[in-house]
């Protein structure tokens, strides 16, 4: 009898009707205890995640346009007593947060470019061109992942002060950040893994069509690698945006420092409301950037149709 009853539910699911993919079946969702119990848990988790994730940003947004005294006297108040929109303009004009954000953008862009160039060309050489000692080079790359980054600080600093072959220090130059950022074994390894999984027949077809290594790289491999380029771009930009220690070490000139270095420096010299407004502006840039590009970052591999599935 129960088998007969369950039949219409299954048919509805197959016909594209109500469908719950997961451990709980459609039929179970119709039971009040499951509906209310699991539904309530879902809602509670969602509220907790929103409070935990969005809460600090929303608080920062509120505090950025709240008078400093109000924030100090009652920091957790939901509604401010009056607004201070001048905090935003003061942050922009007095703190010169625009300059530091621009510095950060320049640093992030350069780091991103260096990382993309090194990761794609390195992975292409190891995965597609397959040099004679490719396996040894890959193994050496992997071993560098086990070296803690803190251990590399001093040798890297010495390298930047006295770069090989060039008798010119990179200190107080963005190259001091861009070049070390490019030397990321992690990026090369994950890019190589992605290239390894691209269909070889397509490369062979391109070679027969007349593509040399450069054309194969530019016209075939890179366009097919948008998803992994997106992933590496996110990692590169976020890491560069958040980086504090290395820019502090190599960029002593305040006019060249990124926002991550300048904000802690100006904390003691600036009114709290203006400082929080500066922080809000600094946070908004990556958030807006992610919202704009999230679809391309999270898109699928885009290889459908290339091969018989």
């Amino acid at each position: 009898m129960s088998a007969i009853r369950s039949w219409p539910v299954r048919r509805n699911k197959r016909a594209g009707g109500e469908s719950h993919q997961g451990l709980v079946q459609s039929a179970d969702w119709k039971r009040p205890s499951v509906r209310w119990g699991l539904g309530g848990t879902h809602a509670a988790l969602l509220v907790l995640l929103v409070i935990g994730g969005l809460g600090p940003i929303l608080w920062l947004a509120k505090a950025a346009i709240t008078p400093t005294q109000d924030t100090l006297s009652n920091p957790m108040a939901l509604f401010p007593h009056g607004t201070a929109l001048s905090n935003i303009s003061d942050a922009w004009n007095q703190v010169d947060i625009g300059l530091y954000i621009w510095n950060t953008v320049v640093i992030a862009f350069g780091s991103w470019l260096c990382q993309i160039v090194v990761a794609t060309t390195g992975a292409f050489a190891l995965s597609v061109l397959k040099p004679k000692w490719g396996r040894v080079i890959t193994a050496l790359l992997l071993t560098t992942l086990f070296v803690p980054s803190v251990v590399l600080l001093v040798p890297l600093y010495l390298e930047v002060v006295h770069p090989p072959l060039i008798n010119h220090s990179f200190i107080n130059s963005y190259w001091a950040i861009w070049l070390p950022a490019g030397a990321s074994a992690f990026n090369v390894v994950i890019m190589k893994r992605f290239f390894d999984n691209l269909p070889r027949e397509i490369f062979e077809a391109a070679r027969i069509d007349g593509a040399g290594p450069f054309r194969l790289f530019v016209s075939i491999v890179l366009p097919m690698s948008k998803p992994i380029l997106g992933v590496i771009s996110i990692f590169a930009v976020l890491a560069s945006w958040k980086d504090f220690l290395w820019p502090l070490l190599v960029l002593s000139d305040p006019s060249k420092q990124p926002v991550s270095v300048r904000l802690p420096t100006i904390f003691g010299q600036t009114e709290l409301g203006v400082f929080l407004a500066a922080m809000l502006i600094a946070c908004l840039v990556p958030i807006v950037g992610f919202l704009i590009f999230q679809r391309s970052f999270l898109r699928g591999t885009g290889l459908s149709g290339a091969l018989k599935g």
Partner: protein
């Protein structure tokens, strides 16, 4: 259009596996040559060596009058159609077709002309702006063919291009490829493991096994005069019946007798025919004929009989084969005996 010559070509991998063993073969200008054999026989490796996608361990590959051993794939003037289409997924159909032409720096007008011609020939005109993911399997395979055609190469290399299509589409596309090849007259090497495809398409067929060329000939030659037991059993469906010669009444040791299922008939052998008694195990009705699976000693034989032939499973019956249809093979070497060495028909029965 160019001839292709394999001159003692070998391929040995670093682990010692010999994929192709001293292959000697000449494909004439404009010929449709089929490489056929079971998986791992070296047919695809041989094709890839012509394309330049596999290094040649020994021997020479000559396209036209050029040895191409050390010439890169793009300079060999060949085009290849892959089993899995290998289309560029980020490009439209038109861009897929034009890619190779752009790399050869042809003028825009010439590229457009060739793309339009290929699209018209393959019925792809309505899909030129679509990407491969928006096409069916048959359409994708036509794009892959189109990519080869637009190049107007000296030779087409096709690596099991129909194996991913369903049965009906395969038959249709088979005809289209044949018509196209005849119209263009381009030398073609076609690799398949499907002997029906090989028989219906090839001007000549090269049967391969374990890297060694077993026989080269027209479909009819291969069917009527197989060089050895392997070719005899590989070509033809159902396969040729192979039994010890003595079991059908041939008084010579160390020989196998081979005969096609369609040459077997029910009844006592007349003059100039062999006969044997066997138990009918299974009868398959195919509409216009019946396939009878009969047991002779420990061997299962097949007989293709008229649809109105009465047969009953489990009964013992006498079958006859005309002596002209019986081929003799050396049981030890597996090689076919020369015509002159065949034994005169015997009237004795097994």
């Amino acid at each position: 259009m160019a001839s292709i010559c394999f001159d003692g070509v070998s391929k040995v991998y670093s682990d010692g596996t010999c994929a192709v063993d001293e292959l000697d073969l000449e494909i004439r200008e404009g010929e449709f040559m089929v490489f056929v054999g079971p998986s791992g026989c070296g047919k695809t490796t041989a094709l890839r060596m012509v394309a330049g996608l596999e290094e040649i361990s020994g021997g020479r590959v000559v396209i036209g009058d050029r040895e191409v051993n050390d010439i890169s794939p793009k300079d060999r003037d060949i085009a290849m159609v892959f089993q899995n289409y290998a289309l560029y997924p980020h490009m439209t159909v038109a861009a897929n077709l034009a890619f190779g032409l752009k790399l050869r720096q042809l003028s825009k007008e010439e590229i457009n002309r060739r793309v339009q011609e290929a699209a018209a020939a393959l019925d792809l005109e309505d899909y030129l702006e679509r990407k491969p993911k928006a096409l069916s399997g048959g359409q994708r395979q036509r794009v892959a063919l189109g990519r080869a055609i637009v190049r107007e190469p000296a030779a087409f290399l096709m690596d099991e291009p129909l194996s991913n299509l369903d049965a009906a589409l395969r038959v249709q596309t088979r005809g289209e490829i044949l018509k196209l090849q005849k119209r263009l007259g381009t030398t073609t090497i076609y690799v398949t493991h499907d002997q029906v495809e090989a028989m219906t398409m090839g001007d000549r067929i090269a049967v391969m096994r374990k890297g060694v060329l077993q026989q080269l000939g027209t479909p009819q030659e291969l069917y009527t005069h197989p060089a050895n037991i392997f070719v005899a059993s590989f070509i033809g469906s159902p396969a040729m019946n192979l039994v010890p010669a003595a079991t059908i009444g041939i008084d010579r040791d160390g020989l196998l007798a081979g005969f096609r299922p369609e040459h077997v008939d029910v009844g006592y052998p007349a003059d100039g025919a062999f006969g044997f008694q066997a138990v009918v195990e299974l009868v398959e009705y195919l509409g216009d004929e019946r396939l009878a699976h009969v047991r002779l000693d420990e061997r299962l034989l097949t007989a293709k009989l008229p649809a109105d032939q009465t047969l009953e499973s489990g009964t013992s019956m006498t079958f006859t084969v005309p002596s002209s249809a019986v081929l003799l093979f050396d049981a030890e070497t597996g090689l076919a005996l020369d015509e002159g060495a065949r034994r005169a028909p015997s009237t004795s029965q097994a």
